[in-house]
């Protein structure tokens, strides 16, 4: 069977231009979401992932649609990378019937089993043992699918991180733990909350590989994921990947990130994942400056159409709140 999300996912598997396009799609999507909130036409809160696109796309490129992924409230990028449509994500953020979970969840709650996206997590760390459990299913059923938990640097200080990884390690579950170290947990820089520099070192506590990955480079993320996934599928157990990256936006809608270390943003922006990848593809002759520009324009245009369309789409009826409470 096929479907738009699955096709969007498959497109990433081989085609690096599609990966570039997806990164651009995520960046512009998140920028637009911030604006929509700023305009005050969206209720609630949102957490965007500008700057972290390479992690999402690298993971989606390496994983199978049948691999199960848990990610966080900062999940728009991961969802789009896995193949979830912009319409599904934006409509959920805007609380419309067409949203990923029918508009009753909001920005923090997306889900698309078709491409392996389990419900996203608004509670820090909660997705880590849940990913171990999805890997348990694969182990019990004897498939060679794997699970992937995506979480932040701040999440590495919560108990569920320790318990979930330890459990996966002792049972040699096929799971890859990907820590997106974007340097901040909410308004606190990692060095305020975490006594070590490299979170990958925490793998020592579980006797599993701990790997530092350049989170600015989708190719690097893909390669590290391929290695970790191969190990998982072979029955050799989990790995902990630390993708070093940076959060361009504030923590959530309102946050202007006044706490940022001066010059830090600029330093990271020099290594911007989209600019770097664009340059590489141009070097490789896969793209030209012109084709890249056209691609970016096209993505921007499509996004505007999408926004207009979702703005017009209906809200759920009150009755919707009573659906899906029990199966």
């Amino acid at each position: 069977m096929s479907s738009v999300p699955l096709e969007r996912r498959r497109a990433l598997q081989t085609d690096r231009v599609e990966r570039f396009r997806r990164m651009v799609e995520i960046r512009s999507f998140e920028d637009r979401v911030k604006d929509l909130f700023a305009e005050g036409i969206v209720h609630g809160t949102t957490h965007t992932c500008q700057g972290q696109e390479a992690v999402a796309v690298g993971i989606a490129a390496a994983a199978r649609p049948t691999d199960q992924v848990t990610c966080t409230y900062r999940g728009h990028g991961v969802a789009l990378a896995l193949g979830v449509t912009g319409e599904s994500v934006l409509a959920e953020i805007m609380g419309r019937v067409g949203g990923s979970v029918g508009g009753v969840g909001g920005s923090m709650h997306l889900c698309e089993p078709e491409v392996g996206l389990l419900p996203t997590f608004a509670i820090i760390g909660a997705g880590i043992p849940v990913a171990a459990g999805a890997a348990l299913t694969a182990q019990v059923n004897g498939t060679d699918d794997a699970a992937i938990a995506v979480f932040g640097d701040g999440a590495s200080n919560i108990g569920a991180f320790h318990e979930g990884i330890n459990l996966a390690a002792i049972w040699k579950l096929p799971v890859v733990f990907v820590c997106e170290n974007n340097q901040y947990g909410e308004y606190s820089r990692i060095d305020v909350t975490t006594p070590i520099e490299d979170l990958a070192d925490r793998a020592v506590s579980y006797g599993i590989p701990g790997v530092i990955v350049n989170g600015q480079d989708p190719d690097a993320v893909e390669q590290a994921m391929n290695t970790a996934l191969a190990r998982a599928r072979a029955g050799d157990g989990p790995s902990l990947l630390e993708a070093k990256t940076y959060r361009y936006a504030g923590h959530s809608r309102a946050d202007t990130a006044p706490y940022r270390v001066p010059g830090e943003f600029e330093r990271w922006y020099e290594r911007d994942p989209i600019n770097t990848f664009r340059a590489r593809l141009i070097d490789e002759g896969v793209l030209t400056a012109e084709s890249a520009e056209q691609l970016e324009k096209a993505v921007g245009g499509a996004l505007e159409e999408l926004v207009a369309q979702v703005k017009e789409s209906p809200f759920p009826e009150p009755a919707a709140m009573f659906r899906n409470v029990y199966a």
Binding site: V101, P129, V130, A134, N141, A160, G164, L167, A327
Partner: protein, 337 residues
């Protein structure tokens, strides 16, 4: 009919579901090699093997969370929480994740998992290992909650819980694990979640109870001068409002017997509901017979005093029937304290 202890009946119920459905797995501390700290999974490792029956690290958040993930992806995990208090380190996965995932997936994901926990006082385990804590899980849309009171319904409830497509917490009174009783096994013995059982019928009063207190109440009615409809709720989420209303319409009097604190124990939900929907049938104050508002004390005598006894139930109901007004609890009657 075979006689079984309640812990054996639970193991038998799990085993029957494991035979019927290869996706049922069992996780918990010492549930496999040791057959469970209370022998509620005895024999499962031998029959179903280490892939499906697993000893976990001491990581309730970790293995309850793993059960959530396994349930979302096609397994039917049965998790053991040795003492219900240990949900205090794992409640997030039950109440905030599992109970809400069907909703937060737009119905795309279901979470057919069971969390079994032993509850209650009477064995001298002290203040941190003797509570019932139903109310930690009560006001939780999306969750189901059942409480066993006999080998027979423990067998039926665990099987129904495992078959349910929703997360279900099953509370098992620890003091009953060793109780022997006739247990009819087989598919006809499933207990529908949300259905109460009329354990005994009578005319003077409706007594609603559950768990270990069912035995206490039946001891009480056996020695009482009055007769009662004794309703064993068996489930709290959902609970059988109709059964209670139906009885109170006839008796006009509602008494709750609870192994829980006086303030905020599970019975207040039943009392509140009846004080609304049953109001015009009530001829006497709704009476709650509970434990006092203190941590569970250690010591045979103290613990026995702490728990509602059959004699205490009789005397409270005697007073209610005689005076028509609310009997105050023993700890408010100066002399008896």
């Amino acid at each position: 009919m075979p006689k079984m202890r309640m812990n054996q009946a639970i193991a038998a119920g799990i085993a029957d579901e494991m035979r019927a459905d290869a996706s049922v797995v069992v996780l918990g501390e010492d549930v496999a090699a040791a057959g469970g700290p209370f022998k509620t999974s005895d024999g499962l490792l031998d029959e179903f093997g280490p892939l499906r029956v697993r000893d976990t690290p001491i990581s309730e958040m970790g293995f309850v969370g793993a059960a959530v993930g396994a349930a979302c992806t096609g397994l039917r995990p049965v998790v053991e929480i040795m003492f219900v208090e240990f949900l205090g380190v794992a409640l997030d996965q039950v109440s905030t994740e599992a109970a809400k995932f069907h909703y937060l997936s737009g119905g795309k994901v279901t979470v057919p998992m069971v969390v079994r926990a032993s509850v209650g006082a009477g064995l001298g385990f002290g203040a941190q290992h003797s509570q019932t804590l139903e109310t930690w899980m009560f006001a939780t849309p999306g969750l189901k909650l059942a409480v066993a009171s006999s080998p027979q319904n423990a067998y039926g409830l665990i099987r129904s819980a495992i078959r349910d497509p929703n997360p279900v917490v099953v509370l098992e009174p620890r003091v009953l694990y060793a109780t022997r009783g006739d247990v009819e096994t087989g598919d006809d013995q499933l207990v529908q979640l949300g259905s109460a059982q009329l354990a005994e019928s009578g005319d003077d009063v409706t007594i609603v109870t559950l768990g270990a207190m069912v035995r206490t109440v039946l001891e009480a009615t056996a020695m009482a001068s009055w007769s009662a409809d004794v309703i064993d709720l068996r489930s709290l989420l959902p609970w059988d409002v109709e059964a209670v209303l139906f009885s109170v319409e006839r008796t006009g009097r509602l008494v709750l017997v609870e192994e829980s604190p006086f303030t905020g124990g599970w019975g207040v939900e039943v009392a509140a509901r009846l004080a609304g929907e049953g109001f015009r049938h009530l001829t006497a104050p709704i009476t709650r017979i509970t434990c006092p508002d203190v941590p569970v004390p250690f010591g045979k005598e103290l613990e026995a005093r702490f728990l509602p006894s059959a004699e205490y139930v009789v005397s409270q109901v005697d007073e209610l029937l005689a005076t028509g007004s609310l009997p105050s609890p023993w700890w408010k009657k100066k002399e008896s304290r």
